[in-house]
């Protein structure tokens, strides 16, 4: 219906391989981008800094994890630790006077180099053992950070992020911060979109689908798994530093515990493994569903005149969100992005129903 494919005739491979060959897709993307760009002028600042900004940052993190999980098929339960290394690394560098641009890249490099060491050890094992190994990484990194005063300033200390400038623009204002996060998110998104049409991304997908077939095509599985770990950890580190500098503005060890890893993992799974759109959906759902559920429950309880212990009310959203993850794993393993793509396919072939895609 909206997605009109007739009349599109590719005469060059280049146009056939463009990111969004369909006009309507391009229109949607540009509209969303326009709204995001205009958001600070359209919406209340509470919404921009309280909702959009974290959404962008968490989506970026989920995109990074999705490269490893959806792209290369490797589980990682310690992504929060990866982000912690980037966050602490860049905050320390900036306290030493390094510019943000450099600190951010350095944060990424720190995460990537430590991440790849754990990766190299972890990749000797598969599946559940890999999950355990990355979980161990989370605990070790947590421990090292909180127990090393030189890094964290003590287990309960918070470390202030110094004021940052990006390309000469001060990031102390809320608008500037928002645009900075948007830029980082856009770059990561573009990278992830391109992954699907380059030999790098195909090699990752090949080892995910059939590692032995990939090998005899000349793809070294260990090498590409390590590359996936490296790139994914690098993105994690960069996003960690953005999180610390733009959003948290002060870092403490407990912000990067297993909770964060699980949260991002849930975003990837609920959003859709291997999809670029998925992490955005997933981040929105995981970040905001608990709030909505809480509000809905609150009003429901008050209309029915029930008094619910405050404890229970605090935990109900968590229960609901656990149920959500299980529900997706059972009924739509490819997540919200798959639901979106089903709708899109439906519209693409409408009024027929049996075309494959």
């Amino acid at each position: 219906m909206f997605y009109r494919r007739s009349g599109i005739r590719h005469t060059r491979y280049q146009s056939e391989r463009q990111l969004f060959p369909l006009g309507f897709d391009r229109f949607l993307i540009l509209s969303v981008l326009a709204v995001l760009l205009a958001a600070p002028f359209l919406f209340d600042r509470l919404y921009v800094t309280g909702y959009l900004l974290p959404w962008l940052i968490w989506s970026s993190a989920a995109l990074g994890l999705n490269l490893l999980m959806g792209g290369a098929g490797q589980v990682h339960l310690g992504y929060g630790a990866v982000m912690a290394m980037g966050a602490y690394g860049s905050v320390h560098l900036m306290r030493f006077g390094a510019p943000l641009e450099l600190a951010m890249i350095a944060g990424g490099l720190i995460s990537a180099s430590v991440g790849i060491i754990f990766g190299a050890a972890a990749l000797r094992v598969k599946g559940i053992y890999l999950a355990m190994a990355t979980l161990a990484m989370q605990s070790i990194v947590d421990f090292v950070i909180s127990q090393t005063p030189a890094i964290s300033g003590g287990a309960l200390a918070t470390l202030q992020a110094p004021p940052a400038r990006f390309l000469g623009i001060s990031l102390s204002g809320e608008r500037e911060t928002y645009y900075f996060a948007l830029l980082v998110c856009a770059v990561i998104t573009l990278f992830m979109l391109n992954v699907r049409r380059t030999s790098f991304g195909r090699a990752l997908a090949a080892i995910r689908e059939k590692d032995y077939a990939a090998e005899i095509l000349g793809i070294s599985t260990l090498r590409y798994k390590l590359m996936a770990f490296w790139v994914s950890s690098f993105i994690g580190g960069v996003v960690g530093s953005v999180l610390a500098i733009c959003y948290l503005r002060a870092v403490s060890p407990d912000q990067f515990h297993l909770d964060l890893s699980i949260q991002i993992l849930a975003m990837v799974i609920v959003g859709g493994l291997g999809s670029v759109l998925g992490p955005f959906f997933g981040a929105a759902l995981v970040l905001f569903a608990p709030i909505l559920i809480n509000n809905a429950l609150g009003s429901a309880f008050s209309t029915f005149g029930m008094t619910v212990p405050i404890d229970l009310r605090a935990h109900l959203p968590l229960v609901a969100y656990g149920a959500l993850v299980i529900g997706f794993l059972l009924y739509e393993p490819y997540g919200l992005a798959k639901i979106y793509s089903n709708v899109r396919t439906y519209l693409l072939v409408w009024p027929f129903r049996h075309a494959q895609r």
Partner: protein
Amino acid sequence: MSSTEAPVLSCEGVELSFGGLKALKGITFSVQPGEILGLVGPNGSGKTTTVNVSTGFYRPNAGRVRLFGEDITGIKPDRIARRGVARTFQNLALFKGMSVLDNILIGRHIHMRPSALGTLFYWWWAQREELAQRRVVEDVIEFMQLQDIRDEPVEVIPLGLQKRVELARALVSEPKLLILDEPMAGMNQEEKEYIARFILDAREERGVTILIIEHHMDVVTAICDRAIVLCNGEIIAQGEPRAAIAEPAVIKAYLGERAARRVGMGDAA
């Protein structure tokens, strides 16, 4: 390549056991440049295992494997691929969730320089390479007559075509040695003849040497220059295909002792 005389592939006394089971009991054979060599034998005789040893998936317990005269025993499959070997699998090994085109493009891996930075700067870096490789891939797509389905997800096309895509993926890497593990399994006569044609053309146009495992004896006698017959991990006959599969030991292996005797008597009479 060390010299033109060196065999493309040679196995010398290759032995392999799985636990207590001796799957290969000292196999010695070689594949000569430009030939199509058939590898036949009853189920479980060790054909696939021979190929797995030759392509680095298993390390032999004894014996050596040489490629163009160079020892490749124990080298990993991805290294062997870079030395000019491509293969297909008995049970299809296509990458699900990807289009036919992307599956075949992966076959170009060894000719490309994949990198994360190149991916980030696609328009300035990776695009030119992608398009150049695409031309090579399109040649093979045309050669294998897969134009109509190049954008289909690979799991929705019929089995016969999937086998053809896998063959295309192997061919596109421009191998010097192509190993095919039952490329015609489950095909009807027409599809079989198509594949046979592709195999002959691949040798003619691209000069590949081919080692093919095949159960269809008509195909083996039609396209192979030589055949090797395996039984219980041993080579029981080799030579001109018709002669090799008619040897008493082969008939016995396929049909059993009594049938072999009957055929033998028939010949004598």
